[in-house]
């Protein structure tokens, strides 16, 4: 009767093995590939944050880089001007990006999917142009901001890529943990319902506008915090890092991945890592990348790893049935 499932008990060892591999990987990789892995890690962090908005709530957001930019710039400005340590700025960056998302999304969150898509593209363009135009004399114009301090954890100054590797992939791990819990909760369930049929969701008592806004703000503030890590790693940021195309790549990573967290991380590998693997093709690599996106979507429209269903403990049911059965005999 019951479908055969991946045994629950096997999940923990599998995760442990993955963590082991991730922890040991930098020991065998050269400098170049460690740097690639750091970039992929940031991409994964951003893709996971976009997944809450796009994958879980089904809100078409093609301007995610805007919130990433807000976080990175808030970090850069506060760090270079007020010398606040970078990692202390994580909450500030998250809050600023979340606040921006709230202000922007409130009047438009009810728009139909495709309208939202172009509006979010507009937002990322407006943010980029604002940064270039040096709003308030704070953003440094087209050159951006340089001299951002390195982060420090327990007195250890993080400057080498291998250290960033652990910092960023640690953040990815934490994100996966928190977001998978979110997914297995009232809020995650509501988002699934909204994605599937928002009128039905509203009709059975879910506050659709509020839940969508919640997802949007959470995803944006997470991207803002990723912006802090980005600023800390680069020490220089400029508007060129937060364009429409960066948003497009994140969008592609989420859809390619299929919406599960593992899938989205794989998607980030494909989108941010694959072009590096094709580096030998030099100028043709983006051509191949474009072709690969098309081919992958045609072969697997649902994405690499679509989310599985949530599990519920209905053990009490069989216990009760057994009790009832005992009573009868």
């Amino acid at each position: 009767m019951k479908r055969v499932r991946f045994p629950e008990g096997a999940k923990i060892p599998a995760v442990a093995v993955l963590i082991m591999i991730a922890a040991l990987l930098p020991q065998v990789l050269n400098q170049y590939w460690i740097a690639v892995c750091v970039s992929v890690g940031l991409g994964a962090l951003l893709s996971l944050s976009l997944n809450v908005i796009l994958g879980q709530a089904g809100i078409f957001n093609m301007g995610h880089a805007a919130f990433y930019a807000v976080g990175a710039y808030v970090t850069a400005v506060l760090n270079t001007r007020l010398q606040i340590p970078v990692l202390w700025l994580l909450p500030a960056a998250g809050a600023a990006a979340g606040l921006c998302a709230l202000l922007v999304a409130r009047p438009i969150i009810h728009l139909r999917g495709d309208y939202l898509l172009i509006v979010t593209i507009g937002i990322v363009e407006i943010v980029r142009i604002a940064l270039i135009n040096d709003v308030g004399g704070l953003t440094g114009g087209a050159n951006g901001i340089f001299g951002i301090a390195r982060p420090e954890i327990f007195g250890v100054r993080i400057r080498r890529d291998i250290q960033f590797y652990y910092l960023i992939w640690g953040a990815v791990g934490l994100t996966v943990l928190l977001f998978s819990r979110l997914n297995r909760s009232r809020v995650g369930r509501a988002l699934s319902c909204i994605k599937e049929d928002d009128i039905a969701a509203e009709g059975c008592g879910i506050d659709v506008a509020r839940c969508k806004l919640l997802a949007f703000v959470l995803g944006a503030s997470w991207a803002g915090m990723a912006g802090t890590l980005f600023a800390a790693r680069m020490t220089i940021i400029s508007p060129g890092s937060f364009t429409f195309w960066d948003s497009v790549l994140l969008f592609a990573a989420v859809i390619l991945g299929g919406g599960s967290q593992a899938g989205v991380i794989l998607g980030a590998f494909l989108v941010f890592g694959l072009p590096e693997i094709f580096r030998d093709f030099a100028s043709a690599r983006m051509l191949i990348f474009g072709l690969a996106l098309m081919v992958m979507m045609v072969i697997r429209p649902q994405g690499i790893l679509p989310p599985g269903s949530r599990r519920y403990d209905t053990g009490f049911l069989s216990r009760r049935e057994r009790a009832a059965g005992d009573g009868r005999t």
């Binding site: 019951k2 479908r3 928190l178 977001f179 819990r181 979110l182 297995r184 909760s185 009232r186 809020v187 995650g188 369930r189 509501a190 699934s192 319902c193 599937e196 049929d197 009128i199 039905a200 969701a201 509203e202 009709g203 059975c204 008592g205 879910i206 506050d207 659709v208 506008a209 919640l214 959470l218 269903s309 949530r310 519920y312 403990d313 209905t314 009490f316 049911l317």
Partner: protein, 254 residues
């Protein structure tokens, strides 16, 4: 005594078409009320006005004395009015159990932080919600399909699942839009028993139905609409013998 639901001179038009024209009626607590009328009489529009999917042009809709006008559908569910859809609107790719949990959503409190950290209160609430959802599935007789996708159920079972989802929100009033639509004879018999069992839980039932046999058998009060106007209401026997009703509706069938 304040009625459970009262419509006062409610009017709603779409473009030039007046779908509901100056309709007033009351529904007292307890009991099963049917809204009948020929196609296009405005029955579903009345339901959609009550559930907040449409806003009336005129008039007021009161639930236990508070106006529902201007409230969003989800607020109205929280107030205690649950519904099913004529065209069945489940979440087809989600498991049956989660469809019912969606109905429970508005009675749960866990916020974003509690959900991300699975606080003890959140876990307790979640466990209780799952138990409640399972009980509602037992109530409508769908326990065997707990883990199936809602989209894989038969039409009759989908209607039952929609009722379970509505019941999970602790409604005082449940509104069923053509619950027997696309059901066969045995399924309809199950539905009749179910509707009565819902009433016996103290929940007032309002339903739209085309199957006159079913309506006469199960409803304790009828409201008859024709072209958006209420032409009669009262107990089934009285309505059945009302000449306007016979002319407008029942006469056609015979």
């Amino acid at each position: 005594m304040i009625p459970l639901l009262s419509l006062e001179n409610v009017t709603k038009s779409f473009g030039g078409l007046i779908a509901v024209n100056d309709v007033s009626f009351r529904v007292e607590e307890g009991g099963i009320v049917g809204i009948i009328g020929p196609n296009g009489a405005g029955k579903t529009t009345v339901f959609n006005l009550v559930t907040g999917n449409y806003a009336p042009d005129n008039g007021d809709i009161l639930f236990r004395g508070t106006s529902l006008v201007g409230r969003k559908p989800h607020e109205i569910v929280s107030l205690g009015v649950a519904r099913t859809f004529q065209s069945i609107r489940l979440f087809p790719s989600l498991p049956v159990l989660e469809n019912v949990l969606a109905g429970r959503h508005c009675r749960m409190n866990a916020g974003l932080i509690a959900s991300m950290f699975h606080s003890p209160a959140q876990r307790r609430e979640e466990r209780a919600a799952v138990e409640r959802a399972v009980r509602e599935l037992e109530f409508v007789g769908l326990t065997d399909f707990l883990e199936d996708r809602a989209g894989n159920l038969s039409y009759g079972n989908r209607r039952l699942l929609e009722i379970a989802r509505a019941l999970a929100s602790d409604p005082a009033l449940i509104i069923l839009d053509e619950p027997a639509g696309s059901m066969n004879q045995p399924e309809t018999a199950v539905l009749v028993r179910l509707v009565r069992a819902v009433r016996d839980r103290g929940i007032t039932v309002m339903l739209i139905e085309h199957d006159m046999g079913l309506v006469m058998q199960v409803c304790e009060k009828l409201i008859v609409l024709e072209y958006g106007v209420k032409i009669a209401d009262g107990p089934p026997d009285a309505v059945r013998s009302d000449p306007r009703v016979i002319e407008a509706y029942l006469g056609q069938d015979d």
